[in-house]
């Protein structure tokens, strides 16, 4: 069988669930998977790619620390004739040389959550808490949520934008402080569900459960729990499980020539609120799910998202 | 008689102790015994093995072989706790104390008085510390941070700590090295008392007069071997010296060669420093050796610090060096002007223990072994070898790290740095502290040779013999002022001591 290198940017759960899904899918397909981690260090990530090539893998499936720092990796992969497929992140300058890129539209991802909450909060104050700054995605998430709020026709004003490094405790602290500073806050957006958990704890501690709406992203299991408990209004899911299985299939397709390389694919997303919480796409993929995702028709290439002209 | 008479009980017996370091034999098959109530002197050249022997007896270091019998028990090796339990107390050559703990806490460290539930009883500790210090006739503030005391006082604390342990055996490794005469005399009285009370005392020193004066018996070590045990009452200094050195040296103290001193080289004009120096005016001529002394706090060390550029705070008055104004803002400025300061605290402030002998010697004059800014390691090795010869360093191994040297050899190496930097004015604190008789003479000869070569030497010393033997002029400082100036010609230690202790206004006879 073939050997695939799965690389993740760091220890975050998001990558872990993707890794688990790929693992079980690969088992079913009789493909061998070797996993690598970059510990959020782009230098290490490049090293991982080089080492995987040396090891002689047939393809590389990678959650990159930063796509824009992958040129060397891609060049090396290309030189060695090893297709490299990227999940999460997008950089037009490299698309042509990749086996493919699967990504959500960062610039609109938070919008539906913003619109949903905007409808429930026609006026008042809201705040956003985003992840680790400097990679572009954290910034884009917060902005897209604000765009959604505006689009919903809500008059609510954004009173605070903080960064919490995707970290639960930092989000908990930041949220409690925002709540203190703005007692009649109506809503908080957390750029991923890990931070949403922290925010929801802050809301509980402030005794404002229900009074302050919470919107999240990712559709992570613990995010879904919040929705079930009625503590979060909506989360926009981009399950790493299904995305990784699709990406694996696409990569294998590129390897055996059945799939055209260098295409962009829209990553599967799913708005989740209490209405459809029952049939949420699980991060923690059951064998049945994986079977399904292996049977599903392959995603087709599409036009990559264009950043809003500032 | 050089053996213990049958009646006396042994306090400690050592049999066949041997110890080597990096191939060098520090101690070779030493047998040694001390009776209760005996004061036993231990003498030998620098590097003879005295401190190593003391450390082995106290349990600070294990011997390679041999056994130690104390308190009826035989040990292959002791650790500090066992040594203490066996009733052995020690004052190390380099007192190991805690600068950030109080005097009392230092004295009782490891044996703190406790209340119920093992809670510290600092009240009792301070009370007992006061009593102890009083008993020893020391007036030290028990609550003061030890780091704020000077080396002499710290030495006293170390002694107090040892006495506190109420041991049967007290090991004193050069306890008077940092003490002035008065403090030393006091210590001797203390030692005699303790001996009377039945304590066995081993006393290591290079001051042979002291040793002869206080010891019942004296053991002489040479190159790690025991060469003799003599009776302290009957033997004399010359025979002792010849046994220590291994050949006869003329016992004549004074090597003074008449040097023609040149014109004024270094001039202090009415120099004062807040709370330290008052209106000091002094002229040192080229080729002259001036000795500074006085009671602790008298200002001798302060004056040295000012000359060396260590301390220019709140300084007033004028200084001139070689005819030009001299006002060093930093030590570097002073060194640049050819003024080299050698501190008393050689381990703490003098040597770089992690560097070799050669690198310590060249440190203050790297330029002279550099070509176009690049160091010539070959040249460095050569000059270091030559300097080791001149100073009779033991072992002769320029690449050996200085921390492996014995105390005296370390001091020689430090002097070597200043000599190699070939200064014009040498400012030394206690230049031969802890140095053996022969080396002391060698160092004195070196200083005279430097002076002979036209350099000026100013040294601070509390060693009366040294002052008389080395200085052309002796300046006695008191309360930051020059109290009087003495010529060593015909001066004897007793008169000098009197001069140091009584203000010039009072009459000296």
């Amino acid at each position: 069988g073939k050997t695939i290198a799965f690389m993740r940017g760091g220890p975050d759960p998001y990558y872990q669930y993707g890794m688990n899904a790929v693992q079980s899918a690969a088992d079913k397909l009789g493909v061998k998977v070797i996993t690598y981690t970059a510990n959020n260090d782009p230098t290490q990530e490049l090293a991982n790619v080089q080492d995987a090539i040396t090891k002689g893998v047939d393809g590389i499936l990678i959650y990159a620390v930063s796509l824009s720092s992958e040129k060397a990796a891609i060049a090396q992969a290309k030189r060695a004739g090893v297709p490299i497929f990227f999940q999460y992140g997008y950089d037009p300058s490299i698309l042509a040389d990749t086996a493919g890129i699967m990504e959500i539209n960062l610039f609109t991802f938070g919008e539906p959550v913003g619109e949903a909450i905007g409808k429930m909060v026609p006026e008042g104050e809201y705040a956003t808490i985003t992840g680790k700054l400097g990679r572009g995605d954290a910034e884009a998430f917060a902005q897209s949520f604000k765009n959604g709020m505006a689009a919903s026709g809500s008059k609510a004003v954004d009173v605070a934008d903080l960064g919490a490094d995707w970290d639960r405790q930092k989000a908990l602290d930041a949220a409690s402080q925002i709540i203190t500073a703005h007692p009649n806050l109506k809503a908080i957006y957390a750029a991923n569900d890990d931070m949403a958990v922290g925010v929801s704890i802050a809301i509980d501690r402030a005794g404002k459960t229900g009074q302050i709406l919470l919107g999240g992203d990712n559709g992570a299991p613990y995010g879904v729990d919040l929705i079930k408990q009625g503590k979060m209004t909506m989360t926009n899911g981009n399950p790493p499980s299904i995305a990784s299985v699709y990406s694996l299939r696409l990569l294998l397709g590129v390897i055996d020539g059945s799939v055209k390389p260098g295409q962009f694919y829209a990553a599967p997303t799913q708005l989740t609120s209490k209405d459809n919480v029952a049939d949420v796409i699980p991060w923690d993929a059951k064998p049945a799910n994986v079977d399904q995702w292996l049977k599903d028709p392959l995603p087709q290439g599409s036009a990559p998202p264009t950043p809003p002209s500032k | 008689m050089t053996t213990i008479e049958s009646g006396a009980q042994l306090a400690i017996r050592v049999h066949g102790v041997t110890k080597s370091f990096l191939g060098t034999r520090a101690l070779d098959d030493i047998d040694f015994e001390v009776a209760r109530g005996e004061v036993h002197g231990l003498v030998g050249k620098n590097g003879a093995g005295k401190s190593t022997f003391m450390k082995i007896l106290s349990g600070a270091q294990p011997p390679d072989s041999g056994e130690i019998v104390v308190g009826g028990k035989a040990f292959k090796a002791l650790d500090p706790a066992e040594g203490r339990a066996a009733g052995i107390a020690i004052v190390y050559q380099n007192p190991e104390l805690h600068l950030d703990l109080s005097v009392a806490a230092n004295i009782f460290l490891g044996a703190e008085p406790r209340k119920a539930f093992g809670v510290l009883d600092d009240g009792a500790m301070q009370k007992r510390a006061r009593e102890l210090l009083a008993r020893l006739g020391l007036n030290l503030p028990v609550n003061k941070r030890l780091g704020d005391l000077d080396i002499a006082d710290r030495q006293q604390v170390a002694i107090a700590k040892a006495v506190r342990e109420e041991a049967h055996v007290l090991l004193l490794d050069e306890p008077t090295a940092a003490l002035n005469k008065a403090q030393a005399d006091f210590l001797f009285r203390l030692i005699r008392d303790l001996a009377k009370q039945g304590m066995a005392i081993v006393y290591v020193s290079h001051h042979l007069d002291e040793v002869l004066d206080i010891s019942d018996r004296i053991t002489i070590l040479r190159n790690g071997r025991k060469v003799a045990v003599v009776d302290g009452k009957t033997s004399d200094k010359d025979s002792l010296i010849s046994m220590i050195v291994g050949r006869t040296l003329d016992a004549v103290e004074l090597h003074r060669t008449e040097r023609s001193t040149g014109e004024a080289f270094f001039i202090l004009d009415n120099v004062s420093q807040e709370g330290r120096l008052a209106e000091v005016s002094l002229t040192v001529r080229a080729g002259e050796i001036v000795g500074l002394t006085g009671l602790i706090g008298g200002g001798a060390n302060a004056l040295a610090a000012v000359m060396g550029g260590l301390d220019d705070r709140q300084l007033s008055g004028q200084m001139q060096l070689a005819g030009a104004a001299y006002a060093p803002a930093s030590v570097r400025d002073a060194v640049a002007r050819g003024v080299l300061f050698i501190p008393e605290d050689m381990r703490g402030r003098g040597l770089v223990m992690s560097l070799s002998i050669a690198k310590n010697i060249s440190l203050a004059a790297l330029r002279s072994i550099a070509k176009l800014g690049w160091l010539s390691l070959r040249k460095e090795h050569e000059v270091a070898t030559e300097m080791s010869e001149r100073l009779d360093l033991n072992p002769r191994a320029p690449s050996r790290e200085v921390r492996f040297l014995s105390g005296g050899n370390q001091r020689k190496a430090l002097l070597g740095r200043a000599i190699f930097a070939n200064g014009k004015l040498f400012v030394l604190e206690e230049p031969t502290q802890g140095v053996d008789v022969e080396s002391q003479r060698q160092i004195h000869d070196h200083l005279r040779r430097l002076a002979g070569g036209g350099a000026s030497v100013v040294f601070v010393s509390t060693d009366l013999e040294e002052l008389i033997a080395l200085a052309d002029r002796i300046i006695v400082m008191r309360e930051g002022r020059i109290d009087r100036e003495l010529s060593p010609a015909g001066l004897d230690p007793e008169r000098l001591l009197a001069a140091i202790q009584t203000p010039s206004t009072a009459s000296v006879n």
């Binding site: 639960r168 958990v197 | 706790a81 190991e96 510290l120 060390n301 000012v306």
Partner: protein
């Protein structure tokens, strides 16, 4: 009767001790704290509400516990960079046990025990090797991070409501439980340092290890005890943080090591050991908590916070002089 030699010759030694003696070191910190309080209070009236102040205490509680333990280590001339990773491991152990048994007591004991054991083992490595604790614990830190990932399988461990209700939500007289635990930790360390031989030995070993050894102090055993004690504190912090976050996360302790050390040093305990106070550490912890709270209440933008925090830490340290 101090000789000039002792004073003039060692200016670098003398002044700071003098400063310490007057406790001015601690005052400077106090002044910095009050300054921040004043500025924030003016900028945002809600800052000085009991609610917010309790919030700050709640937010620093786990850091305070870890820093209290670290204080003993630093005074004793030690250091433990692995506390963050150890906290994660202890927290995950706590979470796994509470999920399995639902027992708060059992899980708390497990978390504390795990911390204690990790600390003791670290202590043995440090006490029996010549390598500095900095580098040894840098190695164990990496190792423990790996262990945390393996324990959690890389994803959060949920179902810890029992702990959450106690430490996340629970309070007594409006004061959250974690705050009590932190204060308890501070007081405990204060008493140990001030009134027990063990505490005295910490100062002795940190000040001059060889001298301590020659004074017959069982240096190794004592060091191991310090690291074990520190580990216990870390374990307790892990238990509490699991409750606060209502989950065990492999990354829950990330960054605690540097924040804790910073707090201790800002609190006036020099890294070279030999002196220090846990009260100062509390001040350092509060400073860190205050700064982030005040930045958020004053609405300092996300992009600026790290820069501002860095400036304030540096300033606080430099004011601290002999750190």
């Amino acid at each position: 009767m101090t000789s000039p030699a002792a004073t003039a010759a060692q200016p670098t030694l003398r002044r700071p001790n003098f400063v310490m003696a007057l406790g001015v070191g601690r005052f400077t910190l106090l002044i910095v704290l009050l300054l921040i309080v004043a500025v924030t209070a003016i900028g945002n009236p809600r800052f000085l509400t009991a609610h917010n102040l309790l919030n700050i205490l709640f937010q620093v509680s786990t850091l305070g516990i870890v820093a209290a333990g670290q204080t003993i280590l630093l005074i004793a001339g030690g250091l433990d960079l692995s506390v963050g990773a150890a906290l994660s491991v202890a927290g995950l152990a706590t979470a796994l046990v509470v999920v399995a048994t639902g027992s708060v007591v059992l899980s708390a004991l497990t978390g504390a025990g795990v911390g204690l054991v990790i600390g003791a083992l670290t202590g043995m490595l440090v006490a029996t090797n010549r390598a500095t604790p900095f580098i040894i614990t840098l190695g164990t830190m990496t190792f423990l991070q790996g262990v945390a990932i393996l324990m959690s399988g890389g994803s959060p461990i949920n179902g810890t409501d029992a702990l959450f209700n106690l430490f996340g939500m629970g309070d007594f007289l409006h004061v959250p439980w974690p705050v009590y635990v932190m204060l308890l930790a501070i007081v405990a360390v204060f008493l140990v340092l001030r009134f027990t031989p063990l505490g005295r030995y910490a100062f002795a070993i940190g000040g001059n290890e060889e001298a301590a050894r020659l004074s017959g102090i069982p240096v190794r055993r004592t060091k191991i005890a310090f690291y074990a004690l520190n580990g216990l504190f870390v374990g307790v912090a892990g238990v509490i943080l699991t409750g606060i976050l209502d989950s065990g996360l492999p990354s829950m302790g990330t960054g605690y090591e540097l924040r804790a050390i910073a707090a201790v040093v800002i609190g006036g305990t020099p890294l070279i050991g030999g002196r220090g106070t846990v009260i100062g550490t509390l001040g350092g912890v509060l400073l860190l908590g205050l700064v982030s709270n005040s930045m958020n209440l004053l609405g300092v933008g996300a992009n600026f916070q790290s820069a501002v925090l860095g400036l304030i830490i540096t300033a606080a340290v430099l004011l601290q002089k002999k750190a």
